[in-house]
Amino acid sequence: MNQAADGEIVHFDNVGLRYGTDREVLSDVSFTLYPGSFYFLTGASGAGKTSLLKLLYLSQRPSRGMIRMFGADAITLPRDRLPAFRRRLGVVFQDFRLVQHLSAFDNIALPLRVAGIPERELERPVADMLDWVGLADRMQAPPATLSGGEQQRVAIARAVIGRPDLLIADEPTGNVDPEMAVKLLRLFEALNRLGTTVVVATHDVHLLQKVPDSLIMRLDKGRLSDPTGALRYPPRRPASVSPGGLT
């Protein structure tokens, strides 16, 4: 499922986004994401990080500009082709967006069920994932009975269980303790080593230092900057490495 070629996975060209008739929340945003890269998206609160992520996970169409994703024009993509693209994405929402009447197990299993994986084949990976995020003993718990940090871990597990090509995480470590934050980052890195492109939106500068190979995109009042120059001159790296598992 991962991009075999070292070509672009996402390309934004002069993208603008406005809600209704308000001023643009994103202006002239241009960048390219390459397979197997690790990106941090930073910026102050209200800078447009979540809006940019919404464009990335195809929940919103831009007001102008061009977006190419997995080699296709994501703006003119017909509705019936969107699900196939979305299945190549893993998304960790800032507000978790867990399905409240489903257990932790069923929430994590949701992407696999949506993809049509038979029940007998999803039990093991879901149980492993629950174990990895330290919630093996809470697998039947509904989200309402989980703490904020536990819900966040379920949300992360749901985003990565399908081994997506592109993982998009909005403040994924906002509600967990530092130890768990590091553990989750290691999970993202492990996925990244397997070829998944990772985009993590955060305002936690300490997090940036924990992934040395990461590229940094900075949003300021809806405009993208390239503080390290890494976006303009991305380091060449293999699209994928030999799988070593997630743990």
Binding site: R61, R79, R86, V99
Partner: protein, 307 residues
């Protein structure tokens, strides 16, 4: 075997079995199954009434077809008896007359007894016409009746000929109207069922909008989401339909027994036969199918408006 597994797969796809239970199931705790139960019960009762009326009409029409009644309206008992016998003889000789029978005085007395009482029905106190019940083959046209009347008047000046079916024409017309009323009720109830399901599906969509968005963002298709709602409504409809069938059966069987005990010939023949029961059996199945299709179309139409 392959056909069977294809059918099973088809049913599973239709019913949404195998999908995660994305929408919380209210089952019989919600209003929907009870609405469907009432709709199904009323539809079954209306349909059963329509079928019983049809049976009654058909049976009566078949019995009266070709039947004529000759009345000898004559005050003098002797003249009445003489003219009745002459009429009977003429009818026996007339081509096209299959049978002719003089209705015995005891039967005539019994017929008029409810109105005239026992003392008044002895044929002496109040003159009662003599009656001949005749059956004619072929179409009973006005021309044939007029011809028969003319021939009979020669031997029995007091004879009057009436087609038996003409007496019951207003009754048949009323029964026809009632049948149309039953059909209209069935159609109206079907429309009401579709409207209720439409409303329920829209409400469920609104209530579960967040879940739907999440499933969409995880790559769920419109068809997958629609199947979930379709299954939910289908289960409600099946439960409600079963309750509706039970309610309707109680009413239909109770009314059937009450009408049967009347002992009136025409009502007796309205009893439902096997084909009627099979037709009634289609009603709850159709209700489930209509509910599921309505839910699917409603959900698909709403989802198309989302990205």
């Amino acid at each position: 075997m392959r056909v069977f597994s294809t059918l099973v797969r088809g049913w599973k796809r239709l019913a949404g079995i195998g999908e995660a239970e994305l929408v919380p199931q209210a089952r019989l705790s919600g209003p929907m199954p009870w609405v469907i139960a009432i709709m199904v019960a009323l539809t079954l009762i209306a349909a059963a009434a329509g079928l019983a009326l049809r049976n009654t009409t058909n049976a009566a029409a078949a019995e009266l077809e070709g039947g004529v009644t000759v009345q000898i309206v004559e005050a003098s008992p002797e003249a009445r008896g003489r003219q009745a016998q002459a009429s009977l003889d003429l009818l026996d000789r007339t081509p096209g007359v299959v049978s002719a029978r003089l209705v015995p005085q005891s039967e005539v007395d019994a017929l008029v007894e409810p109105w005239l009482g026992v003392s008044g029905a002895d044929g002496e106190a109040i003159p009662v016409p003599a009656l001949i019940d005749a059956r004619i083959d072929g179409a009973l046209t006005a021309g044939r009746i007029a011809r028969l009347q003319r021939d009979l008047r020669v031997v029995a000046p007091s004879a009057r000929v009436d087609a038996q079916s003409s007496w019951l024409k207003p009754v048949f017309a009323a029964l026809d109207s009632l049948q149309w009323l039953a059909i209209a009720l069935v159609v109206l109830l079907a429309v009401a069922l579709v409207s209720s399901v439409l409303l329920a599906a829209r409400t469920a969509l609104g209530t579960n909008r967040d879940t739907i968005e999440i499933v969409h963002l995880l790559g769920g298709t419109d068809a997958q989401i629609a199947r979930v709602f379709q299954r939910s409504i289908g289960v409600d409809a099946a439960g409600g339909g079963a309750v509706g069938v039970a309610l309707a059966l109680v009413v239909i069987l109770f009314l059937g027994r009450r009408f049967a005990s009347l002992g009136a010939g025409m009502v007796d023949r309205g009893a439902l036969d096997l084909v009627d029961w099979l037709l009634l059996g289609i009603v709850p199945l159709a209700a489930v199918a209509v509910a599921m299709v309505t839910a699917r179309l409603t959900v698909m139409r709403t989802l198309r408006k989302m990205l």
